[in-house]
Symmetry: C2
DNA sequence: CTTGACACAGAACAGATGTTCAGTTACAAT
DNA sequence: ATTGTAACTGAACATCTGTTCTGTGTCAAG
């Protein structure tokens, strides 16, 4: 008993091959290449199963186009939908937040899968800033961490924002809450206390969408 | 005055078209499709410029293969070199670290640009675990954060590891240092004190390579 | 047994597609 | 003027490639 949309062994092998072929070569295989890989001598059989796979939404095809097939994003995504985010400088407690895209344009951009971004809006640009110093620990952010943010001069309750506090000459990352005529800035670390400040001293520089911490080989290295 | 490896207007247009075509369709264009798009009537001219672009390492071609071209990763990366990491469960202080790939196989995998992974070794599998609970704050890791790790039963000094402490029935993320006949487990937060334990109670479950925190819409508690 | 749907094999066909080649134009160097 | 190179044109060619057609075997339903 096979359920309505069950893949046959052959169809599974075909999908696997198509995927690995595309990863390896960068373009889709032909019908004959698929047939050779999964042990089908007849092109019509490959064509037949491709049509079945298309009905089951595993891939889509373009008629009369050589190699004109692509795996569907829903079932088995092949083409990664990535967002490239330029590294636009650093962020440090004692300095205002700036996006120096020019100065850092030659650095490698950060590539992130789009669906990793919670509320991705392609009309808003994205910048990556690297955290300098240990002074953002109350934001649960380490030295070297990369924050992905979008410049935004307004903020809504609950947003994690990068702000410049003009009364104490300090940049910081905090959760933003409007509270009456005051603004409550809440550290990410629940142990730390929030601060209540006057809106006039708060300059919202951007909204933080993500924090990435790389841990390959941290600073402290002991040789034997 | 054209520098030695300067792109002509046509070649730039060709690259642009190839890129947008691939993004749109999922497969590379044919020589004639390129020619039509950039206004070249002769296939040989397209072929000529493709060969020039290949010499300049902007793309690579496969002889006698229809649509057999791919853009190079170096110069103008089109095909993102991403690593797909399966979400293999959660990690919580009170539970041992396990990689339940089966149970979570249908979840969306995390896609990361490979050069974001500090010491990527493709022979080692990668798993993503989602942190549950606030109990890993001393590791600078929040509830909901995603940790990318590779299963590893040994650790070297300075590695951030996920360990199971059998004497207190607890999972935790710490920096690992061998210190004489003891193991020092150092929290990521420098304010917190390290713990010194006997190797017999430390089960290294994996090495943490990255922490990803999404901040789209955090706990929007705050009723009125 | 007959029927019909399904999966498959093999072959043939028409069009798509990369390749090649003789010839042309533009331009700078000798 | 001559040479040489790079870029280009137009066309022809061989083959790659998706499509289509006829036929076979299986298997469950009638």
């Amino acid at each position: 008993m096979s359920e309505p949309n069950r893949l046959s062994h052959r169809q599974q092998a075909m999908l696997d091959f198509i995927r690995s072929f595309m990863v390896e070569t960068g373009y889709p295989p032909t019908i004959r290449e698929i047939g050779r890989a999964v042990g089908i001598s007849s092109t019509s059989v490959v064509n037949y199963n491709l049509n079945r796979l298309q009905e089951m939404k595993y891939l889509s095809r373009e008629r009369d186009v050589s190699r004109g097939l692509r795996l569907s994003v829903g079932k088995s995504r092949l083409i990664p939908d990535v967002v490239r985010i330029p590294l636009a400088g650093g962020i440090r407690a004692g300095e205002p937040v700036e996006f120096n895209v020019e100065a850092f344009g030659d650095e490698d951009p950060i590539e992130l899968s789009r669906d990793l971004l919670p509320h991705y809006d392609r009309s808003q640009p994205l910048y990556a800033l690297q955290v300098r110093g240990d002074s953002m620990i109350d934001a649960m952010v380490n030295d070297g961490d990369i924050v992905i943010m979008t410049p935004h001069h307004a903020a809504r309750d609950g947003d994690m924002v990068a702000v410049w506090l003009s009364d104490r000459d300090e940049s910081t990352l905090k959760y933003y809450y409007q509270e009456g005529d005051r603004i409550r800035l809440q550290p990410a670390n629940p142990i730390m206390a929030p601060i209540l400040v006057d809106p006039s001293v708060v300059q919202v520089k951007g909204k933080v969408l993500m924090v990435v911490r790389q841990l390959g080989k941290p600073a402290a290295h002991h040789s034997t």
